[in-house]
């Protein structure tokens, strides 16, 4: 308050100082006390009782702070809200009325993820152990088993010999023997021998006979 103020208002704590007026000591003290009050409210430690004029200011300050800086929930708080919503949904499907059923074990999301993460190495280690045990068992079994002889080459004939390379009746070669040739055995043995010699040579030349 300046002494040469034309309004000449009496000093009043509730009076609103002029915008450009320098703050005096009492105004600074009141501002400091209000700032401490806001800090306590923001920190979650509001005072038990607040003067009505300060209550209004406090609400305005809280609204302003919320408008310029959205509130971010902590991870635990977020998980708790989601879990409670899930539990409520489960409970509703089970016929409840939106409250978490006591019979349904609800595992907190964060804890479940942490539990999975903690189990993974142990699961892998268990699987590895089983595989190693199987490999060891197979190895020991094969060592203990008597060694089988290497498979013999297949000895089945791939195909029968051609007819001309086989020992066979001489009927097709000789044909019917007329009566006047009944004693011509020499001619027939010559024919048979010549034919079989051809077959024998063919078989020898082809490498089928050693």
């Amino acid at each position: 308050m300046r002494p040469d103020d034309p309004t000449d208002l009496p000093p009043d704590d509730d009076a609103v100082p002029a915008p450009d007026a320098p703050a005096d000591a009492s105004e600074r003290a009141r501002a400091k006390a209000f700032a401490e009050l806001i800090d306590k409210v923001v920190a979650g430690r509001p005072p038990a009782a607040v003067p009505s004029e300060q209550q209004e200011l406090l609400e305005v300050a809280t609204a302003l702070r919320a408008s310029v800086r959205p509130v971010e929930l902590g991870a635990s708080r977020r998980s708790a809200i989601v879990e409670s919503a899930l539990a409520a949904a489960i409970d509703r499907r089970a016929g409840g009325h939106g409250r978490v059923s006591a019979s349904l074990p609800v595992v907190p999301i964060g804890r479940a993820a942490a539990r999975r993460g903690a189990r993974t190495p142990w699961l892998i280690a268990a699987t590895t152990s089983l595989v190693a045990a199987a490999a060891l068992t197979l190895w020991l079994r094969d060592r203990g088993a008597p060694r089988a002889a290497p498979p013999a080459p297949a000895t089945a004939a791939a195909a029968p010999l051609p007819l001309e390379l086989r020992s066979r009746p001489a009927d097709p070669l000789v044909g019917a023997i007329p009566a006047e040739r009944a004693g011509a055995a020499l001619d027939r043995i010559d024919t048979i021998y010549a034919d079989r010699l051809d077959g024998f040579r063919a078989r020898t030349m082809s490498g089928g006979l050693r």
Binding site: G117, L161, S167, P169, D171, A182, R196
Partner: protein, 207 residues
């Protein structure tokens, strides 16, 4: 800070466990796939060995045929030299040739030798000995063949020759005997004809 270090430690542990798991799986695959070091099955077509079939023309068969051939030539020389006894002995040598077991040529060659032997014996007037050779040849036959048919033909010739000897006889028994021999000769020729026809149909592929 502590939870971050713990998470990193778990991650490292997980990666290490995964590496060990991969190694163990590889070992397991090796154990199941190696088959105890036994050689793997060779590719088909590489180890198949064509067998030496017993019915293939081999050296033993050729030696036997060569011996039979030589005995026949020897008999021809003896016959041309007027030595029928030596010729008969040479033909008997054919019957003594050892052929490979089961060789079809053996039966054919022996039957043909017996037919020739019977004709030589018949020419020497030994009709009964000739018939014995024919009977022995027919008894040894395991299948019909042109050589068996030829044995029946020679059998008919022997019977015909025996009947011809009785043609001039006046005794009623000889007449009856001659008639019976001729009948048997016809039966033998018919048998030879039947065998030949059946074999020719078979060789021509007709039923």
């Amino acid at each position: 800070m502590t939870s971050l270090s713990s998470a990193r430690a778990w991650t490292r542990l997980t990666r290490a466990a995964l590496r060990v798991l991969v190694v163990a799986l590889a070992a397991l695959a090796a154990c199941t796939g190696s088959d105890d070091g036994r050689p793997a099955a060779p590719p088909p077509g590489r180890v198949t060995q064509v067998t030496q079939p017993e019915d293939g023309i081999d050296q033993h068969l050729m030696i036997a045929l060569s011996q039979a051939k030589n005995f026949h030539h020897k008999a021809k020389v003896y016959m041309s030299d007027g030595k029928p006894d030596l010729a008969i002995a040479a033909v008997r040598g054919v019957l003594a040739v050892t052929f490979p077991a089961g060789a079809p040529e053996a039966e054919d060659v022996r039957a043909d030798a017996r037919a020739l032997l019977a004709k030589l014996l018949l020419a020497q007037g030994q009709a009964d000995a000739a018939m014995s050779e024919i009977d022995a040849g027919l008894a040894a036959a395991t299948r019909d063949s042109f050589f068996v048919a030829n044995l029946y033909t020679v059998r008919g010739e022997i019977l015909e020759a025996q009947a011809a000897k009785l043609d001039g006889a006046a005794a009623p028994d000889d007449v009856t005997r001659a008639r019976e021999l001729k009948r048997q000769a016809i039966v033998a020729y018919d048998k030879s004809i039947a065998i030949n026809e059946a074999l020719q149909r078979q060789l021509m592929g007709r039923p």
